[in-house]
Structure formats: C-alpha cells, structure tokens
C-alpha cells in the first residue's frame, strides 16, 4: 500500500470540498493511503511570495519540516500549494544560508527542515505512481463518449522543470483516455486561467477566462477537467459574468479530474462531491446512469 502525507490546502476545506472528497475516495480505491498533515498552515498562495519572500519560504518550510517527520513524500492536490512547496524545496536546496536562517525560526517550533521530503502533485500520483494500466484495471463504468477538455493550468508545469515536456504534455489526456473518456484537442490547456487577477483586474481576468471557455466550446467539450481549485472557481463560477460581459452563452461544467475518475470506478456521485457545483455536469453523470440502468435491466 502506497502512503503519502496529504496536504489539502485551504481551498479543499470549503470551496473545493468536492476535490477533497473525490481525492480521498479515489485514492482509497487504488489502495493509496493519504494521511493528512497535522497542524498544517497556509502555503502562501499566489500572493505572499510577492509580499515577503523570507516569510513566505518560512511558511512553506514549516509544512515541509512537519511532513519530513511523518513520511517521505507530501502530496498536494492544489496546484498553487504544489508549486510553492516544489519551488521552496528547490530554492532552499540551492541556498544553504537561507535554509539555516529559516531553521533558526523553525527551532522555536521544535522543527528542522532538512529537505528530505519529496513533493508531488496529486495528478502525478495518478499518472506516474499509479499509472494508466493500473487505473484502467479499476474502471467499472468507462465514461464512453464523454468529451473532456483536460485542462492543466499553468502552475503544475511552470516555471519549467528539467526533463519535462512543459509545452505539449500528454499525461492528463492519458488519464482521461484510461477512464474511457475522449480528450478533445484543447490548445489552450496550459494557458493561465487568470489566477487571482479577478481581485485586481476583473476585465483582464474575464478576458482570459473567455479565451479558455471559447476554446473549450470550439473543441466541443462536454466538460472541462481540472486539477486546481483556483482554475475550477475561475472557469465555473464566473461563466455567467463572462457571458454578460461578452454576450456569450457558455454553459460548460468544470469538474476535478478525481471526480471523473471516481465516477468511472463506480463511486456514488454524492461521495465524490457532485451536487455542489454551479453548472451541473449532468452529461458525465448521465453517462454512468445510462450504463447502470442498462445493467439493472439485464440483471432483472
């Protein structure tokens, strides 16, 4: 049984609760144990690193130092949490003076950051550690015919890491194919959703969201699958505003990849957090229902 230290991050407590639920349910089915990190704190999100770098690094280092104590790899489902942990680890490994400085602060909490814990995004656990073949074997209801725009967003892959295809990755599409869905050609799959721009410049953010939705609509996607709470909020919750702003008529559900994987594994939609969204991913759930109904007819 694979075990990871689980760092849910603030979003997954409330706004992205469906991501949290589906992550726990699907990993359980795959025989993976996610143990939530005790007493974790905010990762610094997108803003803090621009306000005070030293404190931001310290904030993240505290989480990593605690994770070191209980496991060898920490997993973040949120792309911002993941990015902050990944780059903090990288930066501290290159700057021993800063590490020492931060450790002085951590000592107050009886903690020591030594850089031994690995950092992973949840989607990497599925695509690398579990793998497509293993995932396929767990699929009960393949999401046949469901057209999915696999949306990576920017923070999983940017800035560039060594030996990784950051321009045309395929692993997300691979996961969607594994559960029977059809990934559509979605050229903007790596383009930023606007991030926290909604706070500072609404028109600019709406324009970015519009581009993504337009592209997904042209690709005839039934649903956009995402691996980041902020992407999900921007793309789903602001569709009405974007429609008003641009005179468009988007109605594209945006769900977490773990929710789709959960459906294909036969986990009841409620347990995966479905029902909490603004735009119902009816088509995805219907796809499963149809299969189930047919099965019931046959068994009767």
């Amino acid at each position: 049984m694979k075990e990871y230290v689980y760092f849910p991050g603030c979003s997954l407590e409330k706004i992205a609760i469906s991501y949290h639920l589906s992550a726990i349910e699907t990993t359980q089915k795959l025989g993976i144990k996610l143990t939530e990190l005790e007493d974790w704190n905010c990762c610094g999100a997108t803003a803090y690193f621009h306000v005070d770098e030293l404190l931001a690094y310290t904030l993240v280092a505290r989480n990593l130092a605690m994770a070191e104590k209980v496991g060898s790899e920490v997993v973040a489902p949120c792309s911002a949490c993941y990015k902050n942990m990944y780059f903090t680890k990288l930066h501290l490994s290159e700057d021993p003076d800063l590490t020492e400085h931060i450790n002085e602060a951590l000592q107050e909490d009886n903690l020591l950051y030594s850089g031994t814990v690995g950092v992973k995004h949840l989607i990497e656990v599925f695509s690398n550690d579990v793998g497509v073949e293993e995932l396929k074997s767990k699929v009960v209801y393949p999401l046949n015919g469901l057209k999915v725009a696999a949306y990576y967003g920017c923070q999983i892959l940017r800035p560039k890491k060594d030996h990784e295809d950051v321009e045309q990755p395929q692993f997300f599409e691979g996961l969607m194919s594994a559960i029977g869905a059809t990934p559509v050609d979605f050229p903007l799959k790596l383009t930023c959703c606007g991030g926290s721009l909604l706070i500072s410049s609404r028109p600019a953010a709406y324009s970015m969201i519009n581009n993504l939705l337009y592209n997904a609509q042209q690709a005839q996607a039934d649903v956009i699958a995402t691996a980041c709470p902020l992407c999900q909020v921007n793309l789903e919750c602001y569709q009405q505003q974007v429609n008003q702003e641009f005179g468009t008529h988007y109605s594209i559900p945006v769900v977490y990849f773990t929710q789709l994987i959960g459906l294909s594994m036969g986990i009841p939609p409620k347990k995966l957090g479905f029902g909490k969204e603004f735009l119902s991913p009816k088509k995805a759930i219907d796809a499963i229902k149809n299969i189930k109904n047919q099965e019931e007819v046959i068994t009767q």
Partner: protein, 668 residues
C-alpha cells in the same frame, strides 16, 4: 651545479603584470634560485617581441647560458617562438622551458599577492625541470602528397578543387549518394539571388571529372591511423548494387522501380524518391545507389525490375560493402551540419499543425526542381498562402536549446520573404529578435525587403497555435508575439509559418571527431587551433576543418575556409617533409621484461615486440609521445623524452619550493 640558467618573466602588457608583480618574480628568481644555477633573471614588457627575443639571444651569447626558462603565456602560443630564439643563438631549442603564468595564473586569479607567490613557484618548477632537459633533434619525415577531404558539400568541394588544380591527388569521401551538400537543396542564394544549382553544379562536375580527384560517394571513413604526412585511412564503400563501370546513368532503373520512399534527406521529407535513386538530376556521380532497406527485392525476394530494364546489365544485387585502405598526408574535414529539430519546440506546433514548415522544407518547396516545381503552396499541395509568418532564431540564441547565433538564418529568412513576395504576393511577417546582416551586400538586401513591404516585427514568437479567439481567426495559424517596438502583444493570423531553424553540429560529430583525433567545443563544433589566427587548422597536425563544422557560417565563408584549408595543406605538401617533435618514448632493453603490456595500450600502434630478444621497442616515427606506455610499464623501463621521471619529479620539487627550503634547513 654546472648549468647557467636564464629566467625571463613576461609582462604581456597588463595581461600578466596586472595581476602578478612581474619584477618581483624576476628579482626573487635571481636571488633565491641563484644556487640552482640562475645567473640572470629579467622581466620585459613583451618577451615574444623581437626585442624580447633579442634579449634572450644576447644573454645566451654573452653570458654563455646553457638553459632558458621563459615565464609567459601557454606553450600552445609561444613555445616555438622562444625555442627558435634559443636556436638562433646556438642553443639547442629543447633546452628552453616555457612555463605559463598567464593562462594558469594571471587570467584565473585576482589576488595579486597570491598570484605572485604562485608565479614564483611555477618559475622555480621550470628551473628545476630545465636542468634535466637534454638536447633533442626533431625527426624529419616525408609527407605523402595526397589529401583526404571528408564531406562533399561546398566547403569540401572548394578544398578538393584547389588542391587538385595545384596538381596533387585528392580522395573525396561523401556519405550520401551524391556530392553537393545542403547547397544543392537550395533554390536561390542570398543576397544576390543567383540560382544555387547554377553556381554549384559546374563545381560538382569538375570534382567528378578531375583527373586528380578520386570521388568516393556512398562511403564513410571508418578508421584513421598514423600522423601528419602519413595517415592511413580505412573507407567503407557501401554497396551501391550498381556496377559503375557499366552504368551510363540513363535513369531507366529509377523510372521503372515500383517502390516509392519518402526522401527525408534531400527533399527534407517533402518529396519521394525510388528505392534505386540519385537524389537529384544533376547528381555527381551520375550512378544511382540501391537502398537495400527499402528495395522490394531485398525485402520480399522478388521484383528486380531495375535489373530487367537496365540496358547495360549494371545492376548487381550481390555487391557487398567494401573496405578500402588509402594513404594520405593530410585530412580536411568538411562534414557540415544538421538542422535543429524543431519538434523540440512544441510551442511552434511543427508536426501538429500542418502548415508549419521548417526552413529546409521551404527551400525544397521554393526550388524549381523540388516536389512542387517551385510553387509555394500549403501542405495540401495546391493552395497558395495569402499570409506567411517567418519565425527567426528557432533553436538559436535560446539558452534552452542553443545559446549561439546560427548566423545564416536572418539572411535566409529575408530570402524566404522575398521569394514568397515574388511568387505569391502574400502578406509576410518576419518575427525577429535582432536582424543581423553583417556581410557584403547583406544590409542592402535587408533594405530591399523593407521596401518590398515585408512586415518586420521585433519580438521572439511565444507560440504558434490554432486556438482561435474570434471567427476571423478560425482555420488560421495564429502567431503570438510581443512586438517590442510598440510594446504590445500581437496575434497574427496567417496561412503558413516557416520556422527558420538553427544549424547544429552533425549528430555524430563527437564520434567523427574522435576518429580523426580532434575535439568539439561545448556547442559541438570542432575546435580550431586559434579562433582568429588559425581558424582552419586543429590541434592535431595535418587535420584541418572547413565550413560549418567549425561553426555556423554561410556559403561565401564556407568557400573561403575550404580554400584556406587547401592552402594550408598545399603549403605542407610543398615542403615535402615535416619536422616531428622529438618528444618520444624509448624503452630501456635491459629493464624490459617482455611482458607486452605496453604493446596493446599504444594508441598509435608504435610499439613492436622482438620475439628473439623478448623485448619491446618503440618506433619513433609512429610514437606521438603521449606517455601512455611510460605510465603503464610495471618495470619502469620506458621513459618519455621531455617527460622523464627525473624531469617531472624535479619540477614537483621546484613547485613545492623544496629546492629553497632544503637550503634554508642547512644550518649556516
């Protein structure tokens, strides 16, 4: 102590004197090394100048110096200079030792006090070493007058013709079925737009017909032995399956051959060839080659259409690869370049978006004898583009791929823009980082393009995408680029995108370099002996480089280097013999146990074994003085002239200043 040693410390302007207290070093040597035989120590602004050399010569004559130590630059640069100065004054040149306090001291240190101390130690090492030097005489060996030219592109062709026209024999070895290289693929050449084939093919024909040139195409050099003046090269002549003595080049065989193959080499993947083929109509030699990997007969055992229709019975399916041995005195490497693989930049969409083309593809597209007969059309083969974007610096000037400038792409892109304008009237956008047009007539060509109405956008293209935002962009390729001159992001919808890909070293440049005993820079280009003053010679005597193998360059520069390499080779041939460094290994017969460990280690096959006496012997003509055997001999029977144990140990003593400390330890 019987030797009289002179020490000369060079300022090299401020190169050394800026970081080392040169006068202090000289004074120190005169005082502290006096007991080791130093009778004079001087410093001088430029020791390598004729006045500096005269200083040494005068001291040799007047003070009767028997050894000379010069502390200056690397021996690579001026060892010969100072040895000659000694020789002029009647001292055996090998009694001079040049120690480097520039490359090894002043250029790598900033602390003057430390650098000065290090220089003293190095001078002290040189003094201890030179005491053990012995007078040596260089060997003279005859030079074989033939030259091997590897690579039949324009640089190699030029080199071969220069040498052959001067009356000496040339072996030209080319990997492909025909000579001509990349230049044969082009339609027009910048900046004059003369037809590439028109200026190249006469030279190709000259090579093919020249009585002094043995042309070996479809062949590769597999091994090289020997040394300057006396190389032995092994060449694999791949089986052509065509008897060249019977073939007339009539072309019936490739007309009748039923097997079509995509031509990835000459047509850059845009066109097809047959399984038996010449890459293009003007190929030299005219004989085709049969591509066994794709031939139906070799795959399935039947067909033989070419054999049936050949009017002279020249087809021979039984031909095997042959290995030829040739003797040459010198070698010129002109093996050219590979195009940067644009798939490494997926943001530009090549391979995913049909109408993104590479520069070589466009060359073929615009070539009158290319797959479209020179019509510039989209991938569908019929539609002319109404708008074209040309992306500069693809894979060049980019630290993620190649940091260097590929030098030809700006002019090539301007040429493309002109051809598109002339033949289609399309709107053209050149997206560049900087426009670089530094040669004769190049800037004028750029001005001409500006007047033709090509749009020039200064900015590195971020991506080429088919993700449209407005209906007008649908079906187009959208070029996303920041126009840094107006400070705005632009999205330019076009029908066709041409990626001006950079030049890269041949994929096997490293292995080929090893074969010929020369090395590559970090970028993979072969290293010249001196980047400014000796650009076609290499660190291996008798091996020259010409054309893009040395670094990206255009046709005029490649031709100039081809001619320059030929001139260097001809100069040596004229001398008829070459002086070989007398740095050689010798085996002490009395100590040799006959274990033969050294026999197989020698990279130059210079060690013979005498069965009768059961001892090994070094052939001084073959030995390069590398020292491998010296280090390997378990009996310590081998010593290298110029690198004897005594010399090395004495130099170490000197470096550690043991020569002075021992003296100080002795109570007065």
């Amino acid at each position: 102590m019987t030797e009289k040693i002179g020490v000369y410390v060079c300022h090299c302007g401020t190169n050394i004197a800026g970081t080392v207290d040169v006068e202090g070093v000289a004074k120190w040597a005169a005082e502290k090394l006096q007991h080791r035989g130093v009778v004079i120590a001087r410093d001088y602004k430029f020791m390598c100048s004729s006045l500096g050399q005269e200083l040494i010569e005068k001291d040799i004559k007047e003070l009767g110096l028997t050894r000379v130590v010069v502390a200056a630059c690397s021996p690579h640069l001026h060892e010969k200079t100072f040895r000659n100065a000694c020789k002029n004054a009647g001292l055996n040149p090998y009694l001079c030792e040049l120690v480097s306090i520039r490359e090894q001291v002043s250029w790598v240190h900033t602390d003057k006090a430390v650098a000065t101390e290090k220089s003293k130690a190095i001078v002290s090492g040189g003094v201890e070493r030179v005491i053990w030097h012995e007078p040596l005489e260089p060997f003279r060996v005859p030079i074989h007058p033939a030259t091997l030219v590897v690579g039949g592109g324009i640089a190699g062709i030029q080199a071969a013709l220069e040498i052959a026209d001067a009356g000496y024999h040339v072996y030209m070895v080319e990997r492909e079925p025909s000579i001509g290289g990349h230049m044969a693929q082009f339609d027009k050449t910048f900046p004059t737009l003369d037809c590439s084939a028109c200026i190249l093919t006469p030279k190709m024909v000259d090579v093919g017909n020249h009585p002094n040139i043995t042309l070996l195409t479809w062949a590769e050099v597999t091994n090289v032995d020997g040394y300057v003046g006396n190389f032995q090269a092994t060449i694999r002549q791949k089986a052509r399956c065509v008897k060249t003595e019977l073939c007339t080049g009539c072309g019936i065989c490739w007309e009748k051959c039923p097997k079509k193959v995509i031509d990835d080499v000459f047509e850059a993947g845009l066109g097809k060839r047959k399984a038996i083929y010449t890459p293009f109509p003007q190929a030299v030699p005219k004989y085709p080659v049969l591509d066994k990997e794709n031939c139906t007969y070799f795959l399935k055992g039947t067909c033989k259409a070419c054999e049936k229709f050949c009017p002279t019975g020249a087809i021979d399916f039984t031909q095997e690869d042959e290995f030829l041995q040739i003797d040459v005195g010198q070698i010129i490497l002109a093996t050219g370049w590979d195009l940067f693989d644009v798939r490494r930049m997926p943001q530009y969409g090549y391979g995913r978006l049909a109408n993104v083309f590479t520069s070589l593809e466009f060359e073929r597209l615009s070539n009158a004898s290319g797959p479209t007969g020179g019509k510039i059309v989209l991938r569908d083969g019929v539609t002319a583009p109404a708008s074209v974007a040309i992306v500069h610096c693809v894979g060049s000037r980019d630290k993620n791929y190649n940091p260097y400038c590929s030098s030809i792409c700006c002019m090539q892109s301007l040429k493309f823009a002109h051809l598109v304008h002339e033949r289609t009237g399309a709107e053209i956008y050149n997206c560049y980082i900087d426009i670089r047009t530094p040669s004769k007539g190049y800037e004028e060509f750029y001005q001409r393009l500006l007047e033709e109405g090509t749009h020039f956008i200064r900015g590195k293209v971020a991506e080429v995408t088919n993700a449209y935002r407005v209906p007008e962009e649908e079906g187009k390729l959208i070029v996303q680029v920041e126009d840094t001159l107006i400070g705005k992001q632009r999205r330019i919808p076009v029908d066709m995108v041409i990626l001006s890909a950079g030049l890269e070293p041949r994929h096997d440049a490293k292995e080929v370099g090893r074969l010929f005993g020369i090395s590559c820079s970090a970028d993979g280009w072969y290293i010249e002996r001196h980047p400014k003053l000796d650009p076609v010679a290499t660190m291996t005597d008798g091996v020259y480089i010409a054309g893009v193998v040395q670094g990206p360059k255009d046709i005029p520069a490649s031709v100039a280097q081809g001619a320059a390499a030929a001139a260097r080779a001809l100069g040596k041939i004229q001398q008829k013999e070459v002086a070989m460094e007398p740095i050689r290994a010798t085996i002490n017969e009395d100590k040799c146990s006959g274990c033969r460990i050294c026999n197989n280690l020698c990279p130059f096959n210079a060690i013979l074994f005498h069965e009768d006496k059961m001892v090994s012997e070094v052939n001084p003509a073959l030995c390069q003085g590398c020292g491998t055997c010296v280090a390997a001999c378990p009996a310590g029977a081998i010593s290298g002239t110029g690198f004897s144990n005594e010399q090395i140990l004495a130099q170490l003593d000197g470096l550690l200043l043991l020569n002075i400390k021992r003296l100080e330890e002795i109570p007065a």
